[in-house]
């Protein structure tokens, strides 16, 4: 190969590599990224049953119940107003506790969260509870909500 051609070949090889990487990444991201939703968004019906997503919120105080085999548990994830019933089977991470932030991964399942004979939210089947954070953690979106909430209150005053 002549030096001139060599440079041309190398430059085009590099460009092709970048292009291939971007195309592969875009192809991979199209159906493998799991989106993050708040309880309100889940309840609005935005997410169809079966789609793999993440749900983030606070574990409602007093909502954690163990059922049946001792490994399955139900709890409610809330953003303060909207609530979603979550079922999970397995050992929960250490940072999981009532009243603190949680992100669960799984999908919306058929059925509803029923309290006193009334439907109050949808149900979510969690495959995984993510708790890669410390006790001060709050899902960012809820953090924003909390901030907006505070701002609203200040304005009212």
């Amino acid at each position: 190969m002549k030096p001139k051609n060599q440079r041309l070949v190398l430059v085009s090889a590099a460009l092709v590599a970048v292009l291939v990487a971007v195309l592969l990444a875009m192809w991979g991201l199209r159906n493998r990224a799991s989106y993050f939703y708040t309880p309100a968004e889940i309840n609005s019906g935005k997410v169809e049953v079966g789609r793999y997503v993440r749900l983030g919120g606070m574990v409602e105080k007093g909502s954690v119940r163990r059922i049946g085999d001792g490994l399955t548990m139900n709890f409610i994830v809330t953003d303060g107003t909207a609530r979603v019933g979550v079922t999970f089977r397995g050992i929960v991470p250490n940072l999981f506790r009532e009243g603190s932030g949680v992100v669960v991964e799984g999908n919306v399942v058929p059925g509803a969260l029923v309290e006193n004979g009334k439907v109050v939210g949808r149900r979510f089947g969690a495959n995984e509870i993510l708790a890669k954070h410390d006790e001060r953690y709050m899902p960012p979106e809820l953090g924003n909500l909390a901030a907006e909430h505070r701002a609203g209150k200040t304005l009212e005053r």
Partner: protein, 640 residues
């Protein structure tokens, strides 16, 4: 006083860095002879940052609660080693460690660089000073580790117990040494681009730094993976967490650089290419630092959400990377043509290695940053995890592993002998492995099966470069390459075995109950309370039996009081053929306990492979430095 001394040392170091940069500008414009002065300044600057970091260690060791950082991250009842390690287990402290390593690397570079190229040295030291200056500013303006608390606190808030682990003491410093060691390669590339002296001599000066940084990155990633494996109690060894990717990206770039730099050193080819990789490698270190330290991620390492810091780091990142790319675009076209080579040659093989690594790097980069970009643009939240990375990067990595086996058999410049006859044994090994997995384990997934096959091929192919030659006269660098490539095969085998053969049992057991996992029968004898210096725990007494092998395991669930946290201490037993991994969970009202048991055949090969890869790098590094000293007696003469 100690904290003030540390802060003063930091300010002085920042002043010296500014001076060092101004001297470079002066030298490049007027040709003034400032190399000796700059060297001295760089060394003093490194020493000052060491002083500053030592002061931080001291306030942590003494639990000086009038320092805000100590109050927030330490506690008087912590074991001493974790008091000291706590100094870098937080944002400010770890950034100080970062900049200390940066300045000390600059000092060592100034001290060791003995080549006659003073202009390149001056330019590189100037670049190193600019890098340090930005991070000094970041520390002094946005994250002062020595800020005082008035009045002093009575007791500290404690360190996240997850971080109270020997892994913490060594894992971040090792990674930082690796990250920041790449800064020297970056600065040398910037210096050489400024002076136009990009050639094999530059490559030989740069190579030990790249090798050293790469070894430490490899070790840091391996250690981090093992830490996550045993400390988090989830049984996984790689989670594609953005924090992990933050260390993987510089490693991928450094691996590519490590290979292309050999082409530049041996043949004087791939000049612009190698400079580009040197720039990218350290840029990836900075991207990693930004990801971990700005709080844009919400994961185990990103403890604080602080927009001021994030913006500052992002600005630094853009300025440095942008300037380096602009310099490259301006100067690279003026570089002389590299030496020519054929399409089938060692050089071309290494180019293909580089292309694969770059594509994998690109995939990891896009996957890691995509959620951040989508969120910034549309406000939508999403996460990208294992399904994406495994499916997109996994197959490419396997193809690359096959090429790793073949590339070293090619000759420089032009391949005259056919390569395939030398690959007969590896091909046979691959076929055997494939056959065995089909017969013995027909049910496993396609990716692990391919991984076994490729690993067998690579393990055999890796040692082919040693055949037909006297092992004593084979250069150490070749031995290093063989060891590292063999290590890839070992790690790959571990990954495949873990993916294909792990058995897991999740159960609720009462004392006396027997469970099964893989070939093991496990009995929960009892659960007893126990305590450590700043924690209490419940401890499961497990008995595991297989054939006539009998072992005891004691997984714990620990409760820390400062701050109140629970952690799982997995009990892990290592055998020749795998690990038994046990975790105890919460009690049930009925008096039963949650237990999670894993039998993971050959999982330890993953980290053994990682250590082998790093060892290969070390052997090569020793070989390179030793050979250089032999070839250039003047190096030694200078000290006698």
């Amino acid at each position: 006083m100690i904290a003030e001394a540390g802060l003063a040392a930091l300010w002085l170091a920042a002043g010296l860095a500014a001076l060092q940069f101004l001297l470079m500008v002066l030298a490049l414009r007027t040709g003034a002879d400032v190399a000796r002065t700059m060297r001295a300044i760089a060394i003093v600057q490194g020493a000052l940052t060491l002083v500053s970091f030592a002061m931080l260690l001291l306030v942590f060791a003494r639990t000086d609660l009038s320092v805000a950082l100590v109050y927030e991250n330490s506690h008087s009842a912590k074991p001493f080693i974790y008091k000291v390690a706590g100094a870098w287990g937080n944002h400010e402290g770890s950034m100080l460690l970062w900049v200390t390593v940066l300045a000390v690397a600059g000092a060592f570079f100034a001290w060791l660089y003995r080549r006659k190229r003073e202009r390149t040295l001056v330019a590189a030291l100037g670049s190193q000073a600019v890098l340090a200056l930005g991070f000094y500013a970041f520390l002094l303006i946005a994250s002062n580790p020595f800020a005082r608390l008035n009045p002093p606190a009575v007791e500290g808030r404690g360190l996240n117990p997850l971080l109270q682990d020997p892994g913490l003491a060594f894992h971040p410093p090792t990674l930082y040494l690796g990250y920041v060691g790449l800064s020297v390669a970056f600065s040398l590339a910037v210096g050489a681009l400024l002076t136009g002296q990009v050639d094999s001599r530059l490559a030989r000066a740069m190579r030990p730094w790249v090798l050293g940084a790469w070894i430490l990155l490899t070790l840091g990633i391996t250690a981090g993976s093992y830490w996550a494996y045993y400390e988090l109690g989830w049984g996984g060894w790689w989670f594609w967490d953005p924090v992990e990717n933050a260390s993987l990206m510089p490693w991928l770039a450094a691996t590519a650089l490590l290979h292309s730099i050999n082409v530049l050193a041996a043949r004087g080819a791939l000049k612009a290419w190698t400079m580009m990789l040197a720039v990218i490698a350290f840029s990836m270190s900075m991207v990693g630092t930004f990801l971990v330290r700005s709080g844009v991620l919400t994961s185990v390492h990103a403890f604080a959400i602080d927009p001021e810091r994030g913006t500052f780091l992002l600005a630094l990142l853009f300025v440095y990377v942008g300037a380096a790319f602009a310099l490259f675009a301006w100067r690279a076209p003026a570089l002389k043509e590299g030496a020519p080579f054929d399409l089938v040659s060692r050089e071309a093989g290494l180019v293909i290695n580089n292309l694969f690594l770059s594509v994998i790097l690109g995939i990891v980069f896009v996957g890691t940053l995509y959620p951040l970009i989508v969120e910034a643009v549309s406000g939508e939240k999403l996460s990208v995890g294992a399904p994406y990375f495994n499916a997109v990067a996994g197959p490419l990595a396997l193809v690359l592993a096959v090429l790793v086996g073949t590339g070293p058999l090619l000759t420089w410049r032009r391949q005259t002998r056919p390569v395939f006859p030398r690959l007969k044994v590896p091909a046979l090994a691959a076929a055997t492995a494939l056959f065995i997995t089909i017969v013995a384990a027909p049910g496993i997934a396609i990716l692990p099966r391919l991984a076994f096959t490729v690993a067998a091929f690579l393990a055999a192919a890796a040692v082919v470069p040693l055949t037909n030659r006297n092992p004593l006269r084979t250069p150490l660098a070749t031995w290093g390459m063989v060891i590292a490539h063999f290590g890839i095969a070992v790690a790959l085998t571990g990954m495949a075995a873990n993916a294909a053969f792990t058995s897991e049992t999740l159960a609720v057991a009462k004392p006396g109950e027997q469970l099964r996992v893989g070939p093991w029968r496990v009995v929960l004898d009892s659960v007893v309370p126990t305590a450590g210096k700043n924690w209490t725990a419940i401890e499961g007494q497990l008995r595991a039996a297989r054939g006539n092998q009998l072992v005891k395991l004691q997984p714990q669930m620990r409760y820390f009081t400062d701050p109140p946290t629970e952690t799982n201490e997995a009990a892990i037993r290592t055998f020749r053929d795998g690990q038994l991994y046990t975790v105890i969970g919460k009690p049930e009202p009925s008096g039963a306990w949650q237990l999670r048991l894993w039998w993971k055949p050959f999982v330890t090969l993953i980290w053994a492979g990682g250590v082998l890869i790093a060892l290969g790098g070390l052997v090569a590094l020793v070989g390179r430095v030793f050979r250089r000293r032999r070839r250039e007696p003047s190096w030694r003469a200078r000290y006698s």
